[in-house]
């Protein structure tokens, strides 16, 4: 269990990250392999900031339109992992359109003016007609919302509660959907990649970034250039409203229909007061079902400009040739007139400890979050070391609360640094006969020791050795190196892939004690305790 702190970090990220995940199923179809691709994937992000200097040789170029290109040559295998990260995520949204960054990510697979249609002119006419009907539907939705506010209907989205006119509009819209299908070539981007050996095509959205990636055979790099530049340059958001429903199902699957999803979402919203990390990346349900295609078009215009995008290629190629090719394909996209707006809102300092208790269909547990520091902050390294000191089976929390007092069955800690802010997270499950509050108090007792006494040299070295080995583990494939670069670039600076490790090495026992005292304060934390819903216990075990 060397990596439980990382695994824990992965889980913390998973709550906030969304991935269109399909390749797993494709692989399973061929082989009886239970791939935990999704989980492994996030795991890679969890290992950021653990690479030593000069470990990854990155060539950086800036294209004439401001787009950044990162290249890592690696001739181990005749393939290339290609990806790009747009510096936009759910933190760039606002109330009413929460979830748009992620919905937009889905829409980027719907084609371009030349891909995904047999007749783009006719397609555009139909899209325009569809929007006219949608305008009327939005007006009607507004009336139905008003009726709901006054108690006229219990849930305006229930089909039984729709107004007759709304039903009529639905029908008209559906006719236009069928009309559009005549000129649509469904999922053509996917088809082209598949026919050319593309693999692992996927994308994800987080608070601070949206990333798209795929692996291609080395001889098909130009195809990647063609398709990716085309969809950044000329995207067409077909089947927008059906995709909105898809995303709503994704929300139900990941959050609404899981034992802890709804409570964790509420806890996250409790923790962040002013910073737009407070809403889930997938968006509030009310917003997902009302985001419009015009809003998505505007979002693209604002955030998908070349100066806001980094291209990353890892694999078997010649960087000189690739740089020229990138200029040819991506350089044709005009620089955006305006740079995307900076996020100026900062998190309010908490005036007091925040607490919530939830009854859930799960074993009793506690989750504690403290406000800490953003990505690459000078204290982030000591906090990462501190998290590792607390985590794993040889860490302090397991020794103290699982093996020692026995109040917990499992426990973990993580430091999570994102672009605009960071947090430290400890969560643990109470052992039978013990309460979440006992686990909570045990955690504070361990933290108090770290505030009071310097960490012994051997223990500090053990943790550093772990980071030193980890730095290599994640470099085992083009895709993993690509993921690391995406993550670091998306959070603020790809150079951290090489710069972080020496900073971790330099952390001293005094640094650990200082950050423990600085951040683990009562009025800087939020605490969620979870107890089992009595009826779920009754249904399960007597």
């Amino acid at each position: 269990m060397q990596l439980s702190s990382y695994a824990r970090f992965s889980l913390a990220l998973e709550r906030r990250m969304l991935i269109v995940c399909l390749i797993t199923q494709f692989m399973t179809a061929l082989n009886k392999i239970a791939l935990t691709w999704f989980a492994l994937f996030i795991f890679q992000f969890a290992l950021i900031a653990t690479l030593s200097a000069q470990e990854v040789h990155v060539v950086e170029k800036t294209l004439t339109n401001g787009l950044t290109l990162l290249m890592v040559e690696r001739h181990d295998d005749p393939s290339v992992a290609g990806g790009w990260v747009a510096h936009v995520g759910s933190a760039n949204e606002s109330p009413g359109i929460t979830g748009i960054a992620h919905l937009f990510e889905h829409m980027m697979f719907k084609g371009t003016t030349s891909i995904g249609t047999t007749d783009y002119k006719r397609d555009f006419e139909i899209l325009a007609e569809q929007e006219k009907i949608r305008d009327e539907m939005r007006a009607e939705e507004s009336k139905m919302r008003a009726a709901w506010r006054r108690g006229g209907v219990d849930d305006w989205q229930k089909p039984e509660n729709w107004t007759p006119y709304y039903r009529e509009l639905q029908k008209q819209f559906q006719e236009l959907v069928l009309e559009e299908r005549k000129v649509i070539v469904k999922n053509e981007i996917w088809k082209i990649y598949q026919a050319n050996g593309g693999n692992g095509m996927n994308a994800f959205t987080m608070d601070d970034m949206t990333a798209y990636f795929v692996g291609v055979p080395a001889n098909k790099l130009e195809l990647w250039m063609w398709l990716e530049s085309e969809r950044i340059f000329h995207p067409v958001f077909r089947e927008f409203y059906a995709e909105r429903d898809v995303v709503f199902e994704e929300r139900r699957m990941r959050y609404d229909s899981t034992p802890l999803g709804p409570s964790e979402e509420a806890f996250n919203a409790l923790f962040w007061q002013s910073l737009p990390y407070s809403w889930p990346t997938i968006g509030w349900p009310s917003d997902i079902s009302s985001i419009s295609k015009p809003q998505a078009d505007a979002f693209h215009a604002m955030f998908y400009s070349p100066q806001n995008i980094t291209l990353i290629l890892v694999g078997d190629f010649d960087p000189k040739q690739v740089a020229a090719m990138a200029e040819k394909y991506f350089g044709r996209i005009p620089r955006g007139k305006n740079n995307p707006p900076d996020l100026v809102t900062t998190e309010m300092k908490q005036p007091a400890e925040k607490r919530m208790n939830a009854e859930v269909a799960a074993n009793p547990q506690v989750d504690i979050m403290w406000h800490t520091v953003p990505f690459a902050h000078k204290d982030s390294y000591a906090l990462q070391i501190l998290a590792q000191l607390l985590s794993t089976h040889t860490g302090r929390l397991y020794k103290g609360l699982v093996l020692g007092s026995g109040v917990a069955t499992d426990i973990s800690a993580s430091q999570n640094s994102q672009k605009w802010a960071g947090w430290f997270d400890i969560s643990g499950e109470a052992a039978d006969g013990h309460t979440p509050e006992e686990v909570e108090n045990g955690i504070y007792a361990e933290l108090d020791k770290l505030k009071r006494d310097p960490v012994p040299p051997e223990e500090l070295q053990k943790v550093k050795n772990n980071f030193a080995a980890e730095q290599y583990r994640q470099l085992n494939s083009n895709l993993n190196i690509l993921q690391n670069l995406i993550f670091n670039d998306g959070e603020g600076d790809w150079r951290e892939i090489n710069a972080a490790q020496p900073k971790l090495e330099a952390v001293t026992a005094a640094d650990v004690m200082r950050v423990a005292n600085e951040y683990f304060k009562k009025d800087n934390r939020a605490v969620a305790t979870f107890t089992r819903k009595p009826e779920t216990a009754a249904a399960e075990s007597k």
């Binding site: 179809a29 069955t409 050795n465 583990r473």
Partner: protein, 506 residues
């Protein structure tokens, strides 16, 4: 949000009409030409070493990073548990690396591994055990010593047995909390039968009954050199590594004094007494979720079946090929009824696999999505696929083939698994011939296997979700789930500690 003005919007809509492709960028990707890329599949015998000490090893040096990665596959598994001792395999697997080994107590052992920055993990699943070691190459000798202790001299410390039992019992309580866990479990019951060995779950009684002696015997019975297959890659020289491995595996310190008769030789074959459920819908009521999880299942095929390649293509077109598949296009892209929808047709290694269509949809559209899945299944066996679909499917698999082997770890792990499961002995040319075999599949083959295996009147359909809302259906697409697949059954949850069926929830 003034920024979302209609002026800006019009840019996105109008601009594409004005854009011309520059002269040297073609307007369609088909017009690009690519240099040829020849790819030869790796050949297992180039990596295979029969160690004198017993195990077969697959070895690939890789000096890119200063790491060594070793996986030891062990012929053992849950299927060897005696009745009443369910959970023994899993407990043994966990305690190998967490219960002390050799001269080290559990805490000394874990501290030693941690100080090396190494990963040393073990587990025993249904039909195999795994012990994995990953560490810096400079620490290889220390790591191999620890690995040998795990394989030959685990200590199964009493306090760790108690701890793990307690953790296991507590985890059991969550068996009915997550609808996806319920779905996974009950799908196996429907596909394999209540009495199938893989469906003998641990209970509070079986965990309580496991003794230290049980663990020692289970370990001693199956952990010996010729019962291992090894995959190893990393920063080492091949010959030096072979010498080190011979040393590790030849001199197992037999610290547990035990009757050698326990070692009865090669583990017995894996039982194959599958009973597939009668056709119909089996609904587990979980009132607290707003999305139903659905698995539509049919009996599948086993490895070595001559229909395998046609089945791969057929399934790829129906629902295995991601966004290009029929199910994805209809249920997700067209109708927006699900985020994840797919079919899988894995050939079973030891007994026939299960063909499954799976998706999740909001409670009230479950029945509608089921009807579409059924319709698409019928269509597959009623009419031939198009040439374009057939070709795309073949190309996606053939062109994507190198990804099976795009890291050194994947090469050795794939070949070690082939050794372990007997494929290397039976069909050593499997990977060499794979692409040609896929290429030879015809439309007629696809239709034939669809008719043979996609038998819609035999579907066993598991649904986990809010029964009332699921049966209510959706007004614009009314479908009666109670009759769609013949019969309808309320399928009970099980008591998580005894696994006995509970009365259906109302």
């Amino acid at each position: 949000m003034k920024i979302f003005s209609s002026l800006i919007l019009s840019v996105a809509l109008v601009a594409p009409f004005q854009i011309l492709h520059s002269a040297d960028i073609p307007d369609r990707p088909e017009k690009l030409s690519f240099p040829p890329l020849k790819y030869d599949a790796p050949v297992p015998d180039q990596y295979r070493v029969q160690l004198k000490s017993g195990p077969v090893a697959y070895i690939v040096p890789d000096h890119e990073r200063p790491l060594v990665n070793i996986t030891v596959y062990v012929r053992t598994g849950k299927y060897l548990e005696l009745a009443g001792k369910e959970g023994l395999a899993e407990l043994t697997g966990w305690l190998l690396t967490h219960g002390g080994a050799g001269t080290n107590s559990a805490s000394q052992f874990e501290e030693r591994v941690a100080f090396l920055g190494a990963q040393l993990e073990s587990s025993i699943g249904d039909t195999q055990g795994n012990v994995g070691l990953n560490l810096l190459s400079k620490d290889l000798d220390a790591g191999l010593g620890l690995l040998r202790d795990v394989l030959y001299a685990p200590r199964f410390q009493d306090d760790k047995i108690t701890l793990r039992k307690q953790q296991t019992l507590q985890a059991m309580k969550q068996r009915n909390d997550d609808s996806s866990a319920i779905e996974d479990r009950e799908a196996d019951f429907l596909a394999h039968g209540e009495k199938f060995w893989a469906n003998r779950y641990s209970t509070s009684n079986s965990i309580d009954s496991i003794t230290r002696r049980d663990l020692e015997e289970f370990h001693y019975q199956w952990f010996w050199p010729s019962n291992f297959v090894i995959a190893i890659t990393g920063d080492f020289e091949r010959d030096a590594m072979i010498a080190k491995l011979e040393k590790v595996f030849s001199s197992g310190p037999n610290v547990i004094a035990m009757d050698r008769e326990l070692r009865t030789g090669t583990p017995p074959p894996i039982p194959t007494n599958i009973v597939f459920a009668a056709p119909g819908v089996y609904l587990v009521n979980k009132p607290d979720v707003d999305q139903g999880r659905v698995s539509l299942m049919l009996p599948g095929i086993q490895r070595g079946n001559p229909d395998y390649y046609a089945v791969v293509i057929m399934n790829n077109i129906l629902g295995g090929g991601g966004f290009t598949s029929h199910l994805m296009n209809r249920i997700r892209s067209d109708e927006g009824l699900a985020y994840s929808v797919y079919s899988s047709f894995p050939p079973g290694v030891y007994y026939p696999g299960t063909f499954t269509i799976a998706f999740q949809s909001k409670s009230r559209t479950v029945a509608y999505a089921c009807a579409i899945a059924l319709e698409e299944t019928k269509r597959m066996s009623a009419q031939p696929v198009s040439d374009a679909e057939l070709n795309l499917s073949k190309k996606s698999i053939i062109e994507g083939f190198p990804n099976f082997f795009n890291t050194k770890e994947k090469i050795v792990e794939q070949f070690a698994m082939d050794e372990f499961t007997g494929r290397h002995a039976k069909d050593p040319q499997f990977w060499q011939n794979f692409r040609a075999n896929i290429q030879s599949v015809t439309k007629e083959d696809v239709l034939r296997v669809a008719k043979k295996y996609l038998t819609p009147d035999k579907f066993a359909v598991l649904v986990v979700g809010n029964q009332a809302d699921i049966l209510l259906g959706y007004p614009t697409h009314p479908v009666d789930l109670k009759t769609l697949f013949g019969s309808f059954h309320e399928w009970p949850l099980r008591d998580p500690m005894t696994m006995q069926p509970l009365a259906p929830q109302k």
